[in-house]
């Protein structure tokens, strides 16, 4: 019987297999950052262990770095300690690091692909749940905890139980005004925040094949929001074209050898998945969240749901809690929800295409007086490329703030955060209570919806601007 993409990558990385024990998998690339690594390095030191493969390990500073005044010392003493600790650990253990000020600094999941370090068929891990992003290349990539970070540092392997596989087949073509973000929000609303648990998701079908690499990264990035540790997309010519020529991509004869291997990775025709979900692309429209988990979303044309009408008791209580936290009334049209802040950035939507799409909507418009808009590129290179195209000017002229690279308001570990009761439209990945600052209220949206919302001051799609 044939194999799925996920099974092929898994099987080609088994170091050791034994009855009753997890498989020991080799890890091709280990990405680290300041938040989930200090205790892992400490563990190595205590046990007198070394980093086995510093040459397969890369560090960057992203989670709590400031996005203004980056030439000055980090003002928050605890953030500074964490960044300083990462730098010292990398120095001591010989791990390459891209620090603030380096042209390759940025969000770890933006930097890896950008350097060409993320390639099809690899195993990629990081102490960050959005490592699923790298699955867009046909890599098996997933987030790990700090104990596992220590394990990978020490052994370059992880003991793991095989995942089940789920196909998310998206038939047909996405309508013009529907983005990868809308699609993945709709998938999560469909299967639920626990629907992907224990599975590797494989996104496939005509709509997926038509997506650019950056759009595919947006999709795979949010697999974790459906409970799946990893999401994957079979590598194809779009993938090869993206990887080719990048700094760490194979060159010359090795490139040909690599592509030949990558072309064999796709799921075999006679392979079977443990579960399958089918989505009709044509049925989708711009999608936003109304609640406090990413599964609580609806088309922008809808209204805030009435919890009384939700049959499942757990979901009903969750919806009641969410409406109270979000300060929303059942039945209110989603388009009537006013926001205070618009955040454009994150590992979900902080890449060039995202900035271009938002800039195209903003060009010739002004951010509403009642709205603060933050634009935070996913990496220094994204920022420089955007500036070369003049996108920074579009944002600044519209009245948005053009910032330095980092995770920023996605998780508010740096000074960029909402105040209690403040409401945002955010291109990030999580609308959990307090995620963007204590008491902050988050609506997850696409870059296009973020830009249109910034202009009108309430949740809007670009099409609403023409009608206004």
């Amino acid at each position: 019987m044939g194999k799925t993409l996920a099974e092929k990558v898994w099987q080609s990385h088994i170091v050791r297999q034994a009855e009753g024990e997890p498989d020991l998998l080799y890890i091709d690339l280990h990405l680290i950052h300041e938040v989930t690594s200090p205790q892992a390095f400490d563990g190595l030191r205590t046990a007198g262990r070394q980093v086995r493969r510093p040459d397969l390990t890369m560090a960057t500073e992203d989670h709590n770095v400031p996005t203004i005044d980056i030439d000055k010392p980090i003002a928050d003493a605890i953030s500074k300690l964490q960044v300083d600790t990462l730098r010292a650990n990398c120095e001591e253990f010989g791990v390459p690091i891209f620090s603030l000020g380096n042209v390759d600094q940025g969000i770890v999941h933006v930097v890896g692909p950008q350097l060409g370090l993320t390639q099809p068929g690899m195993t990629v891990v990081c102490g960050d749940s959005h490592t699923s992003t790298h699955g867009a290349f046909g890599a098996l990539a997933f987030g790990i905890g700090t104990s596992e970070v220590e394990h990978v540092l020490a052994t370059q392997t992880l003991p793991l139980k095989p995942f089940k596989t789920m196909a998310i087949t998206v038939n047909g073509q996405l309508p013009d005004d529907v983005t990868a973000k809308d699609l993945i929000l709709a998938v999560i609303a469909e299967i639920g925040t626990g629907g992907g648990q224990g599975y590797v998701l494989e996104y496939r079908g005509e709509a997926i094949e038509s997506l650019s690499m950056e759009a595919r990264m947006t999709i795979c990035n949010m697999s974790i929001e459906a409970g799946a540790r990893a999401g994957m997309i079979a590598p194809d010519q779009t993938t090869f074209d993206y990887v080719q020529g990048r700094e760490r991509a194979p060159k010359g004869a090795q490139w040909d050898e690599a592509v030949a291997a990558w072309q064999r990775l796709g799921t075999d025709d006679d392979a079977t998945f443990d579960a399958e979900v089918i989505i009709d692309a044509a049925s989708l429209s711009p999608f936003v969240t109304w609640g406090t988990n990413p599964g609580q979303g609806l088309p922008l044309s809808g209204s805030v749901p009435n919890p009384v009408e939700i049959e499942d008791q757990g979901e009903r209580v969750a919806a009641e809690n969410a409406l109270e936290y979000m300060g929303l009334t059942a039945g209110m049209p989603l388009r009537d929800i006013s926001v205070d802040t618009v955040f454009l950035g994150s590992c979900t939507n902080g890449r060039m295409e995202d900035l271009r799409a938002a800039a195209a909507v903003l060009r010739g418009h002004k951010v509403a007086d009642s709205v603060t808009m933050l634009v935070v590129p996913g990496s220094v290179r994204v920022r420089l490329d955007a500036e070369a195209e003049g996108l920074d000017k579009v944002f600044i002229e519209a009245g948005a703030q053009w910032r330095q690279a980092g995770c920023s308001m996605c998780l508010a570990m740096n000074p960029d955060k909402l105040t209690p009761g403040e409401r945002s439209a955010s291109t990030s990945n999580r609308n959990f209570e307090g995620r963007q600052g204590p008491g902050g209220r988050t609506h997850l949206v696409s870059p296009q919806v973020a830009a249109a919302t910034a202009i009108t001051g309430h949740l809007s799609a670009p099409a609403d601007l023409a009608n206004a």
Binding site: V15, R16, P22, L24, Y26, L29, V35, T36, P38, Q39, R49, R52, P54, L56, H63, I78, S79, L81, P96, G116, L117, Q119, M122, G127, S129, G143, I144, G145, T146, S147, E148, H151, A154, T155, T157, P159, K161, T193, G194, Q197, G198, I224, G227, R229, R248, Q254, W255, E257, A258, A261, N293, V317, A318, L411, A412, M413, F432, E433, G434, P438
Partner: protein, 195 residues
């Protein structure tokens, strides 16, 4: 890691689903570089509410948390496990755990006991009638017991064995150094390096 066989302790009901790791420990507490000292961070937003279940004096010494489904979703932060442990929890019972959280629990020695949804309901009913009561979690026999409730729970065989023996994963893997070196010698040359 300490061996885990049977634990009996005061149980607190947390009647919420989708308790994500941002609720268990908000990101502002993740800036520390230590592995301990997160007891103040656990559920810090919810603990501001005097009515929150852990603020009830009867749950002051709780070591078992009985929570709704989809416990531990979201961020991979292992700090969520450390915060629960630093606060005093030894066991979390839920009908479903997020994969990363469950993995992190096993590494740190926090028992994530998965039960049928009806068992959570039965335990909640028992705790409503007998607030501040103890629950027994028997890892050897995979049973959870409280009053008339005596039900099985699920846990991965290998994780159970490691918890029972109190074993460290890295130590186990380093015994297979030869297999790792052998695998490394066969990796394709086109694979990237970071140096």
């Amino acid at each position: 890691m300490d061996k885990f066989t049977v634990h009996t302790g005061v149980a607190a009901p947390l009647k919420r689903s989708n308790v994500d790791t941002d609720q268990i420990i908000p990101a502002e507490y993740l800036k520390r570089v230590t592995r301990h000292g997160y007891e103040d961070a656990l559920f810090s937003a919810w603990r501001k509410d005097p009515e929150f279940v852990l603020n009830k004096p009867i749950h002051a010494n709780a070591t078992v948390l009985v929570a709704g489904p989809e416990f531990g979703t979201g961020s991979s932060r292992e700090h969520a496990v450390w915060a629960l442990q630093d606060y005093g929890f030894k066991v979390v019972i839920s009908a479903r755990f997020a994969d990363i959280f469950r993995g992190n629990s096993g590494k740190g020695g926090l028992l994530a006991a998965q039960v049928e949804p009806s068992v959570v309901d039965a335990l909640w009913a028992y705790l409503d009638e007998n607030p501040g009561s103890e629950i027994t979690i028997d890892l050897e026999n995979r049973r959870v017991r409280a009053g008339d409730v005596n039900e099985p729970f699920e846990i991965d065989d290998y994780v159970r064995w490691r918890l029972l023996e109190g074993l460290d994963d890295i130590g186990i893997t380093l015994n297979h150094d030869e297999a790792i070196a052998d695998f490394e010698s066969r990796r394709p040359e086109y694979l990237p390096t970071t140096k």
